[in-house]
Amino acid sequence: MNQLIEGLSALASIEVVLCLLLGLGLGLLVGMFPGITATMAVALASGFTLTLDPVPGLCVLLTIYVAANFGDRVPSILINTPGTPASIATTLDGYPMAKQGKAGLALTMSAFVTAGGVLLSMVIFIAAAVPIATIARDYFRSPELFALVVFGLTVMIGIASNSVLKGLIAGVIGLLIGSVGLYSATGDQRFTFGISELSGSEGVSFLAVIIGLFGVTELFDQMLTHSKSQIKPISALGRWWPNKAEFRSSLKPFAVSSGVGLVAGLVPAAGGDIAGLIGWDRVRRMSKHPKSFGKGNLEGVVAADTASSATLGGSLTTTMALGIPGDSVMAVMIGSMLIWGLNPGPQLFTTRPDLVVTMAAIMIIAVVLSLIASIVRMKGMVKLLDTPNHYLWPTILLFCMLGTYATTNSIFTVVTMLVFGVVGVVLKRVGIPAGPVVLGLLLGPIAEENLARTLVLQQGRGFFEVWSPIALAFLALAAISLIVPMLRRRKGSTLEQKVADELAQAETSALDSYNEKQENTK
C-alpha cells in the first residue's frame, strides 16, 4: 500500500504534468508523420530526458509511446499510409471506410479501441508482470516462435481478397525481399549486389517498403485515375460518433483481438504490426461476412487497432520484468533507464516497486489524455483532406520522402521508397495486393532465424524434446487455416456465396442509413 501511495505521489508535480503534455504532443505528432516512428521520437527525446529525473523523464518517453499509437492511425485511415508500422492493418479497412466518407467514424472508433486495448493490456503489467513474463520466456522459445510466425503467415490468404493465388505470389515476393541482406545465422550476404546499404541485417529498409507500397502507391494510383468531374467523398458526408449497434458489433472483435494482442505483446519478436494483422485476420475468419473485410468494414478497424494496441502492456511487461526489449521503442527505453541507474529486469520489481506503480500510472494517464486529444481534434483532421489535390499530393509526397530519409539519413532509403512506390502501382494495377508483401517481409526473417536456431538446437536431441506441444499446436493451427478455406471454397458454389454476401451488404447498409436517420432526428 505504501508503495502505491509513494508511486502515485511521485506524479503530483507541475514538472510531471508539463512532461506528460510534452510527450502527448510529440507522440501524436510523430505518429501522424509516416516514417517518423515512436522509436525515433523516443530515441530523440531520450537525449533531452537524460537531463531530467527518472520520473519526469519516463513521463515524456512513455507518453510518446502511447500517444504515437493513437496518432499513427490517422494517416492510415485518411491517406492509406501507416504512420508507424503498428498501424499497417488499420489501412486494410480504415482507408476504404474513408473513401466511402466514413473517415470520422473510423477515426473515432479506432481511438476508442486503441484506448481500450492499451488499458486492458496494462492489467498484465500491474497484476503479475514477473511471473507472466517468465512463463512467456520459458514457453515461447525458438521452435514456438517459428510455429507462431508460420501461423502468422497464413494471414496472407485473408488479405488477398480477390485471388488467393495472387495473394500467395505477393507473399513470396515479400518473403524474398525479407531475405535480402545479412543472413543472421551464418553472416552470409544475400542479394546485396555489393551495395553496402543493403548489406546489414535489415537489408531492404522496412519503413521504406511500407511507405512506398502503401502511401506512395496510393498517391500514384490517384494520379492515374483522377478526373476533374470526380467528387471527393472523403469528408463530404458521414457521422463520426458510432451508434449503439456499432458499439455492440465491435464487442466481439474487440475481445478476440485483445487476446491476440496480449499474447503477441509478451512475445519479444512480435510487435503491434504483426499483432494487428493477425487480429484482423482472426476476426475476419470468425465473422459471418468475411468478404466484407478489407472493403471498409468497421469491425476490421476495431480488430486491427485493438490487437496492435493491446501489445503495449505486454511489451512493457517483458521489458521491465526480464530486461528483454519487447519492441524497438522499449529497446531505446532500456538505454535511457540504464543511464538513470535503473536496471530493467526481475530485480526492478523488488527493489523499486514504487517505480513500477509510477510507470503503470503514467501509461494509464497517457491513454486517457491521448483519447481525449484524439476525439477533440478528429473533425479538424478529416477536414484536412478537403485540401485540393494539387496541394495535398505534393505535401504527402514531400513528407513521405522526408520521413523515410529520417530513418537512416541516407538518400538511398528515399530511392528505395520511391522504387517500391512504382512497383506498388504496377502490382496494384495487375491485382497483386500489397498486404501479403509486407506480411512476408515482416515475418520472413523471423521465421527463418528461428527455424535455423531450432535446427541447431535439434542436434543430438529427440524430436519432441525440441518441438513442444505449443509449437506443434501452432503448426497445426496454421495447417487448418490453410486448408479450411480451400475446402469451404470448393463446397459452397460461388453464386450462392455471392448472393449471401450481397444480402449481408444490403442489410448492413440499410441498418446504417436507418441509424443515421435516427441520429439526425435526435
Partner: protein, 316 residues
C-alpha cells in the same frame, strides 16, 4: 483570412531560420583547430549503447574544444555505412566518429571497405567485458564444469548475432580451451542471455551488463577480462578459473579520417583523454555496466590492428 496570416507568419519565421542555419560563411584557412562545429558520426540507431556512449562523450568534448560536437546517427549494414563514410571525409578532423569493435571485424565478416589503415584512431573510451552465463538451474556449476562438458559434446552457446563480437568470443574459447561450442545467433544481447536463462541454449556469451540485468534467472560463470568485475566480484576470470588467458570485450573509441594534420590529432586526443576522465562520463558508463578504459592514440591504433588480425583468423 486567418489561414493566410498564419501562412505569412510561418513564411517569415522560416525565412529567418534559413538565414540563420541554411547559409553559413565558408571558413577561412589558417586558424587554429577547431573553428567550426565537429560532426560525430554514430554507426547505430539512436538510443542504443553506442549512441548513448557517444552522446555522453560529445557533451564533454564540447566543453573541451569550445565548439559544438553534433552527434549524427548513420545506421545501416551493421555500422559499415558510417565507417566507410568516415573514411571518405576530408582529412581535417571535423568529422569524427564512434568506432565500436566492429571496426576491426566488418572487413572480414561483410567484406566492407573498413580497414584500420583507412583511419586515424584518436583514443579508446570504453570497454564492455564479456561474460559467459548459464541458466540458474543448469547442471554446470562452475566454468570448469562447462568447459569440461564442452570438450565432450557440442554445447550450444547463444550470442547477440552472427558476426558479432560475442560469436567471435565463443569461437575464441573453442580455440584456446579446446571446447566445441556451437555459436547460436540471437537478436540482441538481452535475447541471447534470456535464451540461456530459459534453457533453450546451454550457455550465452554477452556483455556483463546484459547478464547482470537478468538477475537470479542466470548464473554468471566467468569473466573474459584481466580482472574481476566490481558488480559481480565473486565471479572468477577465465585466467583464474581455467588458466587460459581469454579476453574478449565490446570496446569503443573515437576515430577519424586517415592522414589528418598532426596538431589536429593532438588536439582531439587531448580532448578525448580529458573527457573520459570527467565524472559524468564515468558515472554514465558505470550505470550502463561498462568499464571506462582509456587508451591513447598510439596504443589504440596498435590495439585495433591486433584485434583486426585476431578476428580475421577467428571469423574469416
Amino acid at each position: 483570412m486567418r489561414k493566410k496570416s498564419l501562412i505569412t507568419g510561418v513564411a517569415g519565421l522560416a525565412a529567418l531560420a534559413l538565414a540563420v542555419s541554411g547559409c553559413t560563411p565558408v571558413a577561412e584557412e589558417g586558424g587554429e583547430f577547431p573553428e567550426n562545429d565537429i560532426r560525430l558520426i554514430i554507426q547505430a540507431d539512436p538510443g542504443g549503447g553506442s549512441d548513448l556512449s557517444s552522446r555522453a562523450l560529445a557533451t564533454e568534448l564540447e566543453g573541451q574544444l569550445g565548439v559544438s560536437v553534433i552527434p549524427e546517427n548513420m545506421p545501416g549494414a551493421s555500422g559499415a555505412i558510417a565507417m566507410e563514410y568516415v573514411g571518405e571525409q576530408a582529412a581535417d578532423g571535423y568529422t569524427i566518429g564512434f568506432a565500436p569493435v566492429e571496426v576491426a571485424m566488418l572487413n572480414t565478416t561483410q567484406n566492407a571497405n573498413v580497414l584500420p589503415e583507412n583511419y586515424t584512431f584518436i583514443g579508446q573510451i570504453m570497454l564492455a567485458p564479456g561474460v559467459i552465463t548459464v541458466a540458474a538451474d543448469s547442471p554446470y556449476e562452475t566454468l570448469e564444469d562447462l568447459i569440461a562438458a564442452g570438450k565432450d559434446e557440442a554445447l550450444t552457446v547463444a550470442n547477440s548475432g552472427a558476426g558479432s563480437i560475442w560469436e567471435a568470443a565463443a569461437l575464441g574459447i573453442n580455440k584456446e580451451a579446446g571446447t566445441q561450442f556451437t555459436p547460436v545467433a540471437y537478436d540482441g544481447g538481452a535475447t541471447a542471455v534470456s535464451a540461456a536463462a530459459s534453457g533453450e541454449a546451454d550457455a550465452a556469451v554477452s556483455g556483463g551488463g546484459e547478464a547482470i540485468a537478468q538477475g537470479d534467472a542466470v548464473r554468471i560463470l566467468g569473466v573474459m577480462h584481466d580482472e574481476r568485475l566490481e558488480q559481480i566480484s565473486d565471479v572468477p576470470t577465465f585466467q583464474e578459473a581455467i588458466g587460459a588467458d581469454i579476453q574478449f570485450g565490446g570496446w569503443g573509441g573515437i576515430y577519424t579520417t586517415k592522414d589528418i594534420p598532426e596538431d589536429v590529432r593532438a588536439t582531439l586526443e587531448e580532448a578525448v583523454a580529458t573527457s573520459v576522465e570527467s565524472d559524468s562520463y564515468k558515472e554514465f558508463q558505470e550505470n550502463a555496466g561498462n568499464l571506462v578504459v582509456y587508451k591513447d592514440s598510439e596504443e589504440f591504433t596498435a590495439f585495433v590492428n591486433e584485434q583486426f588480425e585476431l578476428y580475421k583468423e577467428l571469423l574469416g
